[in-house]
Subunit: 314 residues, 2 copies
């Protein structure tokens, strides 16, 4: 079985898992799943499994499906809190079914992960820890928005938990399922974590630079909520133009109206460029970590994945 | 160790489980946990364990804590969807921290259950299934409110999933942990399920008859949302006064204003009385199921629990 075959099985499995005679839950889950998405996490898990010598890809399928469902659940709930109306080029569950059913659909996806993973025991602990971290990261983010307190340090704490923890778990689970050496599992964990950080930084850059059609989701949400992610990311103490812009963003609560002008300022400054450079550095760091693994098509696939995460335009 | 000692350990364990350096999650979780609650589910689990000969109550503590945390998570999210502002005699998480943090606190509690139970494997499947059923039941309820379609059958489908499934799982888990005979586990499952149905019927009766101080939560929510639970429960085809009232409730979407008058009508009819009778029958049925178990203090405790569920006034 090729990794592509396995990815098809992951899709099938996710649709099976969300089966329910409560039609609205099944329909809303199918709606968000059918819209696609980049499927970076399951792909990483399958490649990590193969890179560690795993030869039964079908065994990795339920784990890969579970990881992507955790992400999907968090997206459905994030669109409630962020008032996101477009997701993956379609109306969000929130926009289509309303807040109550979006909340319950997210709960359904979270609890279906729990059900799917219940028989797994040890492997399950990694995914459960990452799921808790994700919710903590979303909460840190909401608290930072509320308190209008975004620093570079806070930004890193947020993205480490809300994004990088699940990437780390995906790579680690692939390695563990293949019964890899602890040293290799550790390396995969670092790889996944750094790719996750890079992924989120680029996501936040694209929120500013890409239009909604390209992005497939409501853009400018971060700015609209006064987050100024990219700007925060840039406040590293030097005296460049980017910092001045960042401070402007960080010291005022950003109202909904002047988004365009702030966007213009950020786009004129160095912030975007710096953020892209940092994402590139993290991806390179991730790639170098893989050197402990023997060369293989799967290891090359993990390298390509890290590059894709940084070089993508949507 | 006595069952009361074990219940103290359950409390302690729940507080430990929700530890987080994300202070808002820990505080909101402590807020709802510290308010107490009846703790019927963990008590049932511990008693079922002892009634099947289990002698290491401390082993049942994490399972009992997990079941109560599932219930707690669902309560936090239900208060968002129902606009409940009082819960267990305190402001709801929703009222105190706002919708965004209430949503995340519920997610945190659901995912903490997942994390707590991750090492358990087989036993975990029962609790995971019940957790999914709970979310499905809440969704059936929200859909019935939206479509204004409440029949007695729909009412039973709702309460079977949103309440009775977790009661069943609690009793079953106690039995399984004690390595009970399959026949005894089956009996405990039926017991738990029927006590759960009775518990929810009485909850819905108290929503109509008790005042908020007594109830410790926002009352009249069911009616305010046009649910007319007790009324629905009464539409069993006979021609009594209760049915006429029930049909009045069921055929019109109930606006917020005439709640008091509908409440009056229901209180004057037979609906409340009938609902109480049916809860009593279910409790008696549950108690009779326990006859396959040998007599013990714990079995008598389960009988008392079933009676308490029906006879309580809050």
């Amino acid at each position: 079985m090729t990794a592509n075959d396995a990815m098809h099985l992951v899709e099938t499995r996710m649709f099976e898992v969300v089966h329910s005679d409560v039609k609205i839950l099944q329909e809303a889950s199918h709606h968000i799943l059918a819209a696609g998405g980049k499927r970076v996490r399951p792909r990483m898990l399958l490649l990590a499994y193969e890179a560690c010598g795993g030869t039964h890809l079908e065994r990795a399928v339920p784990l890969a499906a579970a990881g992507e469902l955790v992400h999907t659940a968090s997206v459905v709930h994030a669109d409630i809190n962020d008032h996101g109306v477009v997701r993956r080029g379609r109306p969000s569950v929130n926009a289509k079914w309303g807040r109550t059913f979006a909340l319950l659909t997210g709960d359904f996806l979270f609890t279906k992960v729990y059900e799917l993973m219940a028989p797994y025991k040890d492997l399950n602990v990694d995914l459960a820890d990452a799921t808790v971290a994700l919710v903590e990261g979303e909460t840190l983010q909401a608290a930072a928005v509320k308190d209008n307190h975004f620093t570079r340090e806070v930004y890193y704490q947020i993205i480490a938990r809300k994004t990088a923890a699940l990437f780390r778990a995906s790579a680690v689970l692939g390695g563990k399922l293949a019964s890899a050496d602890p040293q290799h599992i550790e390396a995969l964990g670092e790889y996944g974590f750094n790719v996750g950080l890079a992924f989120q930084i680029i996501d936040d850059v694209l929120d500013l630079t890409a239009d909604e059609t390209q992005l497939g989701k409501t853009s400018g949400i971060d700015l609209a909520q006064g987050r100024g992610y990219v700007a925060a990311y840039k406040t590293n103490g030097d005296a460049s133009n980017g910092v001045a812009v960042a401070e402007a963003v960080l010291t005022e609560q950003v109202p909904a109206d002047p988004i365009t002008s702030i966007k213009q300022k950020l786009l004129q400054g160095d912030a975007i460029h710096e953020a892209r450079l940092n994402a590139r550095r993290l991806a390179d760091l991730a790639i170098s970590t893989l050197s402990v693994l023997p060369d293989s098509a799967a290891r090359r696939g993990l390298i390509d994945l890290a590059n894709m995460v940084v070089d993508r335009d949507h």
